[in-house]
């Protein structure tokens, strides 16, 4: 350790004030504190500090994404095998998937990291570890057939216009990874929507479950239609279906959720509220009767949980503490409405088969307003003369 410390110190001298590499100090700081803990002591009270820091928190979010990433790699390869009619082999699928997915992740990190460093250097602030999360989140919500240049353009837009122009980490209104995806979605719809992009094989067409459900004609059974297209609850839950890289497996998202909740990194309220909102709205449709009833209405409400990107969005996207509501009451409202909007967009809006991304972005915009009302309510209550709350205790 001594050796590393000394080497870092030696290199560090080049980045000091007045030295040639002064401008790139944030880069040095990032590397230095990545290798060795900063070793800074508290200059004023409190003189003792918790062992946790932002690096660890962000790394833990990345760790929570590992099941979804691994599953995404395997499934991408598996779908290629199925599409090409190859015989199935586990390692074959992993290899084929890795060739598609790993470059996407690397490009996302490289382009996102570039902007993060550029802004840190020009604004003279430290490099925030948040980009480690944004980079992989974005990669996992893309279709596996996405051209790499679009990955780079998308993450650039997300980091710069989703985060940095608001003042950087902690100030952004929208989730940067979702801003990136929304940009690609509206700018290059051909590569990110429709039936041809979800399996990384040229010319192969297969509609996603949501598209199948939305296209089922009135009077037909939607479960039957899904079944005919090769989708059932089980394979959608495990994620052996075409879709965005990391989103297909509800199981992998559940594993990530369990990790986030056990370590206390994410707020459980938002995820629970998302699920409640989704189930409530889909139940309303389910029990709606009448001749004009769309076939999609009759989908059992709990099927919505495993379809599309809902599980991924509710666990990893909606819970971003910066762009979500920051009051407890607000978190319930925010999450619930995300669930409701997701179903609304999926079921009754013919333009977009998937609604999670748009509903989270929409609620990101409303989170400050929700918080505003919760805080005003809190202030009103504060100003009322308080009755002595006495708890007798033996």
């Amino acid at each position: 350790m001594k050796f590393i410390e000394e080497q870092l110190k030696k290199v560090g001298q080049l980045f000091e004030k007045g030295k040639p590499l002064e401008k790139f100090y944030p880069l040095y700081e990032a590397l230095d504190t990545f290798l060795l803990t900063p070793g800074k002591t508290a200059a004023k009270a409190p003189f003792v500090r918790d062992a946790v820091d932002m690096k660890r928190v962000m790394i833990f979010v990345v760790l929570a994404l590992i099941p979804a990433t691994l599953m995404g790699i395997y499934n991408t390869g598996y779908q290629i095998e199925v599409a090409k009619g190859l015989s199935h082999s586990f390692w074959g699928a992993v290899e084929a998937g890795a060739w598609k997915v790993v470059p996407i992740i690397l490009v996302s990190y490289a382009a996102g990291g570039f902007w993060e460093v550029l802004f840190a250097v020009t604004r003279k602030h430290e490099i925030n570890e948040g980009f480690l999360v944004t980079g992989i989140l974005f990669a996992l919500i893309l279709p596996p057939s996405i051209p790499l240049w679009q990955v780079a353009v998308g993450i650039s837009f997300g980091v710069v216009f989703g985060k940095e122009i608001f003042g950087g980490t902690g100030m952004n209104v929208f989730n940067p990874a979702l801003v990136a995806r929304a940009f690609v979605f509206f700018a290059y719809p051909a590569q990110i929507s429709g039936s041809t992009v979800w399996v990384a094989v040229d010319g192969f067409t297969r509609a996603t479950p949501l598209a199948v459900a939305a296209a089922t004609p009135k009077g037909h059974s939607v479960v039957q239609a899904l079944g005919d297209a090769g989708y059932n609850f089980q394979n959608m839950f495990f994620g052996f279906i075409p879709g965005s890289i990391g989103e297909t497996s509800a199981l992998a998202c559940l594993a990530g959720l369990a990790f986030l909740l056990v370590t206390g990194v994410a707020s459980w309220r938002i995820t629970v509220a998302c699920v409640l909102g989704l189930l409530t709205m889909s139940s309303v449709f389910y029990f709606l009767q009448g001749a004009e009833r769309l076939a999609f209405f009759a989908l059992p409400p709990y099927w919505h949980l495993v379809m599309g990107g809902f599980a991924f969005g509710a666990v990893f996207m909606a819970t971003d503490p910066v762009s979500s509501a920051a009051t407890n009451a607000g978190r319930w409202i925010y999450g619930f409405l995300i669930g409701v909007l997701t179903v609304l967009i999926r079921v009754v809006n013919p333009a977009y088969p998937e609604g999670v991304m748009l509903s989270i972005l929409f609620m990101n915009a409303f989170a400050p307003l929700i918080d505003y009302f919760v805080v005003e309510n809190h202030i009103k209550r504060r100003l009322q003369p308080k009755k002595l709350e006495v708890e007798a205790k033996k």
Binding site: T41, K44, F47, G170
Partner: protein, 450 residues
């Protein structure tokens, strides 16, 4: 009388508590009075170097309210008046002649005190130099004699890490303490609240008369003044509340009973870095070196007060006027390889991101002053509220202060708070945000502009 069960907050069980034995130390050869201990006071000197002083001779007074004076705790001569940048008055060092001569005041019997007028009590407290033990909220500054409080709080419990046991300190001072309470009664038309820890067996506290006694149970900051005020008589805009440490109430009692300014102070010497841990009977302004005689202080940091709310004084410094605790902990700051990846079965954390979070809690923890991370933007905003028992939305209050929106900060309750109430938030914040410091800046801004 009521008991309040506080749910929010956490106790940090540090290693190095002082066993309950009082050792009377010899009179220090030098003491110092530090003007910056007295918030809200603009010091105007009354002495020059080499002036002879007695116990109770004024050293400086407030420029705006000259009745408030700060006096010498020993007799002897003024050895030094240290000034820093821009002639900022750093401290006044007094060398003791060991004779303990004191300025004399009128004595009263216990029954006479209750018959005194408000003006008489005020005059005696101000003249004797004991007045500054009274502090006011908002802003935690020395109480202003012309701004009468709506109530007075006696702070008779402490939940800071390794905090001195108030019950123990008051042992044998029951009579002075009660006399002091009677003195306080004279100062306000409102109530005098005595706030003690749940389960206290101190006779001075449980048998106190003519005041409202309340008990607080639960983790730190259940023992903070703000917590007590918040539950009993919350502060709104325009209110003043005074508060005073229990030990100083006993000093006020002995001033009236015995007719002399008593500089006595019992101090808990704590922390794993202190060679000997004990309760020291000494005087206010005592040098740290006297309290830590015989401790090897290499690589240690000396804090007057607790590790959460104290002030670093260094091994050549002096105890702060209001503190009855000295904490010595290792400086730490050793760099470790890939620390963010370590499972951390020995790490201390409120979070659940280390293996240690899932092991049975240790009885005592050893902590250094290591920050364990670098400063970052605030991202996790849900960790503050469970650590603050006040009805405050911490994250939104921080935002209001950072954007200098005074009106919003007041509406969110900043006037009820003090820096120390957010020490646990700063402790737990993974972004290493100085939450208390931001609140203090907000309060300073309001004081300047309001």
């Amino acid at each position: 009388m009521a008991t309040f069960q506080i749910k929010q907050g956490r106790d940090i069980k540090l290693k190095g508590a002082a066993p309950k034995e009082i050792v009377t130390l010899s009179l220090p050869r030098q003491v110092a009075v530090v003007p910056s201990d007295f918030k809200g006071i603009k010091a105007s000197l009354c002495v020059k170097v080499n002036d002879a002083v007695k116990v109770g001779t004024p050293l400086f007074e407030d420029k705006h309210c000259p009745e408030i004076r700060i006096v010498s705790p020993v007799s002897g001569r003024v050895a030094a008046i240290d000034r820093g940048e821009k002639r900022f008055l750093e401290d006044i060092v007094v060398e003791s002649d060991g004779r303990d001569e004191a300025v004399a005041f009128r004595k009263f019997s216990a029954s006479e005190i209750s018959g005194l007028s408000k003006e008489d009590v005020e005059k005696t407290l101000l003249q004797s130099g004991l007045w500054p033990v009274l502090r006011q909220r908002p802003f935690s500054k020395v109480a202003h004699p012309h701004e009468p409080p709506k109530s007075i709080f006696v702070h008779a419990m402490n939940t800071e890490p390794l905090a001195p046991d108030v019950d123990f300190i008051l042992q044998g001072k029951e009579e002075q303490f009660q006399a002091g309470l009677n003195v306080l009664r004279r100062l306000t038309k409102g109530k005098v609240y005595l706030c003690a820890k749940h389960g206290s067996r101190s006779k001075a506290l449980t048998q106190a008369r003519d005041v409202e006694t309340h008990y607080f149970a639960g983790p730190h900051p259940a023992g903070n003044v703000s917590t007590h005020i918040h539950y009993l008589d919350p502060i709104h805009k325009g209110d003043h509340v005074w508060y005073v440490e229990a030990q100083d109430v006993a000093r006020a009692g002995s001033l009236f009973l015995e007719g002399v300014y008593s500089p006595e102070r019992v101090v808990a010497v704590t922390g794993e870095g202190a060679g000997r841990k004990f309760y020291a009977k000494t005087i206010v302004g005592a040098p740290v070196s006297l309290l830590l005689k015989g401790s090897g202080l290499e690589g240690m940091r000396c804090v007057s007060g607790s590790v959460l709310a104290g002030r670093e004084v260094g091994k050549d410094g002096y105890l702060s006027f209001y503190d009855s605790q000295l904490t010595v902990i290792p400086a730490g700051g050793k760099r470790t390889f890939l620390g963010w990846l370590s499972p951390g079965s020995d790490k201390y954390t409120f979070s659940r991101t280390f293996v240690s979070s899932f092991l049975p809690p240790r009885k005592e923890v050893s902590l250094t002053t290591d920050k364990h991370g670098s400063d970052r933007a605030i991202v996790l905003n849900h960790i503050y509220d469970p650590l603050v028992p006040l009805d405050i939305m911490v994250y939104f209050l921080l935002k209001a202060v950072i954007s200098e929106d005074i009106e919003e900060a007041e509406r969110l309750g900043i006037l009820e708070c003090d820096e120390e109430d957010f020490a646990l938030c700063s402790f737990a914040c993974p972004s290493k945000t100085d939450v208390g410091g931001i609140i203090r800046e907000g309060l300073e801004l309001i004081e300047r502009e309001g």
